[in-house]
Symmetry: C2
Subunit: 594 residues, 2 copies
Amino acid sequence: MDKLSLYGQRLAALRQELEKEQLDAWIIPSSDEFHSEYLPPQSRHMTWLCGFTGENGVVVVTRDKAVTFVDGRFTVQIRQQAPESLFDYEHIHEVSPEKWLANHLPVGSQVGYDGFLHSARWVRETRDCLHHSQLTLLEVGDNLVNRIWKDRPKAGNDSMILLETAGQTSRGKRLEIAQILKEKQCEALLITHPECTNWLLNIRGRDIPCTPLVLSYGLLKNDGSMILLVDNNKLPDSFAAHVGEGVDVSEFSRLSDVLESLSGKTLLLNPDETPDRLYQQVKAAGIIIRDGKDPCLLAKARKNEEEREGFRRAHIRDGIAMCRFLAWLDREVTAGHTHDESTLADKVESLRSEQDLYLEPSFETISALGPNAAICHYNYRYSQPRSLEGESVYLLDSGGQYLDGTTDITRTVAVGRVSDDFKTLSTLVLKGHIALASTRFPACGTTGLQLDMQARLPLWMHGYDYDHGTGHGVGHCLGVHEFPGRFSNRFNSDPLEAGMVMTIEPGYYRNSEWGVRHENMYEVVPFSVDGEIDTLGFRHMTFAPFDNRLLDRYLLTEHELDWLNGYHHQVYEKLAFYLDEPDRQWLKDACQPL
Amino acid sequence: MDKLSLYGQRLAALRQELEKEQLDAWIIPSSDEFHSEYLPPQSRHMTWLCGFTGENGVVVVTRDKAVTFVDGRFTVQIRQQAPESLFDYEHIHEVSPEKWLANHLPVGSQVGYDGFLHSARWVRETRDCLHHSQLTLLEVGDNLVNRIWKDRPKAGNDSMILLETAGQTSRGKRLEIAQILKEKQCEALLITHPECTNWLLNIRGRDIPCTPLVLSYGLLKNDGSMILLVDNNKLPDSFAAHVGEGVDVSEFSRLSDVLESLSGKTLLLNPDETPDRLYQQVKAAGIIIRDGKDPCLLAKARKNEEEREGFRRAHIRDGIAMCRFLAWLDREVTAGHTHDESTLADKVESLRSEQDLYLEPSFETISALGPNAAICHYNYRYSQPRSLEGESVYLLDSGGQYLDGTTDITRTVAVGRVSDDFKTLSTLVLKGHIALASTRFPACGTTGLQLDMQARLPLWMHGYDYDHGTGHGVGHCLGVHEFPGRFSNRFNSDPLEAGMVMTIEPGYYRNSEWGVRHENMYEVVPFSVDGEIDTLGFRHMTFAPFDNRLLDRYLLTEHELDWLNGYHHQVYEKLAFYLDEPDRQWLKDACQPL
């Protein structure tokens, strides 16, 4: 069946459900009940209904219209995927779904939603917004799309992984967080981030792509005991011994019973991140709600020594795979083999998968040639992949999930003759990277917002900039985008702390021509200096050569040259041993001082 | 009468008033009904009651206790000024007055305040806070201190100044702001900042120290007409012709009548900055309140070409005075004359006062020798002034109000042998100054919070920092501290814009030994670059030499040396012509390339 008929039928079926429920609209976000960045197949409601595969969007279906809302990253992709004869397109930052509904539905209309897919805060604010226009927001009790999605995939049933290299026992972590709960005078914490339940219990899983998680909720009490809400079938026999005493397991369906036991007690939860359905259950159980962030988020972001050691080992293996790939690519280019973006992405993944403890990519690989590299979030899967033929540069942003760490690296490399203009911009971007990576800053209270401009200044001085953040925190065999660490020019009040693991990834994008990004990962470490205040700085985690052919050495200061040559010296020292000829010779050449 | 008896009597008299009014406490802030940074004599209630002369504090008097609350800048000064047998001391950031009251007064107590001296927001929040502890916040209708302050000074009666060099007519300004009101669908704007009424009408005055203002409120309507609430006696004959059509004048006492006319209309005002008494009158008049910032604040901060030209001329005259002072100081040191901090401050003021269009200092001069320079907000008036004898460095932070502009400059100079350690730190501070002053940044949306770290980084790299902002906006013959422009590591979402005038003033303070600060003023100007985005940068306004004797040239990069030598070249070019020998020769020497 062609796309048009397929999505046309699905919309018609959904509209029948609207009629049954006497609803005038239904809201479908690209999210699941676990805030997953990468959705499991059974939660891709928006994809099923309109074809859109991007990470962030909403579709609203009324009796006679269907409208998609995406941000600037996806305005091209949505038009390729959702047929325009069936769907209107809105930029979500210009017109929000609730504003659109308020402007388009007649007074008295009823709008339905699935309370598991929206946060308590979203429901409250959207209800208020619609109320102003005399519209009603209604929860139906189930998801209308699920009713008509006949071949909806089942949730995965991969077994849970018990992580042996977490550096701290689950009991130790639980007692640490329990202490924070006591200080906040809360009896318990409702954990709705699976990253936090997985961190707290030293478990992992294969329930969603790119992030090795077991989907689960948790309820941690201030004595350190915990109830894990999870699909029981995923538990290995040794689970109880692994997590230590004080952990009970319950099915999701028994959440109400679990909450009953907290009636009259004070529960810490974050209404921004708690699905509204859960929030309502908490209220119905007579629990006192204390608004606040999940303290696991910060504790998890400060990696312990064993986690950092794991990260370092994973980065050596990842560096080996990257060097093999980059050496292979150079040879293939020389040989005139014209691989396309898809083949190149497959090649780097296959080299990573040869490495120990590798699980999967840590995000969808950006494999972009020539003008495609100018699109920050380019995805060759939804485009016509370009091939090496006739191109000048290749941008590869990729990473791996390993049981002992997570990687994220971007290299931009020459695959043809590059222009002087490109070299200038590529060098300015590297100058920014070096400036931020060389910064020492007060250990107490410095935010990524304060440091972000270091990476932009060399571009600013020449009248250029890039329209994305400069870096993000990375989880330990968890999400590749981990809060609260963040280098960004958006407001951010969470300070950087020792033990965080961060990317630094400035870039520059010449529209329709080419793009460049230089990305490494760093651990935030204390630096001893002679002065009066404790300072932090960054220590290399990523090891793989930057492409010297893209740099103009006369734009680099002595300090910057020393940094680059010193880094390449380290890369060679760390990786050469593991590479066979001719890759070793390639690395030697690539690491020659500039 | 000694201090103890004097303040003891005053407290006793205030407690009698408390009893009369059946109040249990009275709150006295160091503020007036115009948010003045520098209070006129008749508004120094806190000084009269406890002796404290600092810019920021609160005193709370109960039936049996009196407690002062000041921030870290004034914790030493308050102990010198308010006798400890009469007053307790609290750090205002550790214990706020309302928290203190909540903890110390018995349930059912009544706390009085003067509704003109606190903002509507403060009253709302304080009332809520006290209410939690079952205390009541009560407005009495007048100020209890005024009842007992027998020799309270009268408000000044200096005539209004009509400013001829404002670069835009009052009518032009009023129509511009009126347009903003229309866009916000407001009928009028309540202006409670005298800086805004003075800017809007191109008037100035001498009602308070350090800021040449006529104390006044204003009501601007969205047709550009305006009612100025002011002491009628201050109006010169040519006022009406000067401000142009559409300006009525009314006495403060007639505010209620003025507000009556707006009943049912929408009025823009900022509850953070509107005295609660006014706010209540607005509400009582049946006016619809729209919360929002006064749009005059931003318009005023973006100086027009004539204002900037005035600033530049004022800075030449100010530079002449500064050079004469610095040359004189060097000669006096050589001659072994041991002036003290007070004499030195008087000398620089007297040299400024010889200059055309000079009005007064733009803030209380910081004249600090040796260890006193380590105190950021040192005030020799409330200390035992040190003299030049045996000291190594002198820090002078001073400025002038001229009819065509306002200045603010800090120079740190050698008055003896300086240590290598001092030279290192002094050079690091200058490196930070140069880094920020050399920055180009996106014209759209860049905040001072993003740029602030540029000035700190050279210190951070060596483990040092300073505990104050890096710079502030400066008004045009108005407040020397002007919002919204600000370089600070505190949250600040207002972007820098072309036409703003800013200080850059990093420093470093070695406790009990010495301090250094290098401060110049800059205008924010567009820079043309070859790139893709519009950028802004800084252009020198201040001209006076930095003291090369305090610098270690081997710590300066080639760019920094070029910047410093280029600046000194400009200083000589601009000022030499106006100086007589031997000051000219002194300047020539001071401006020699390092």
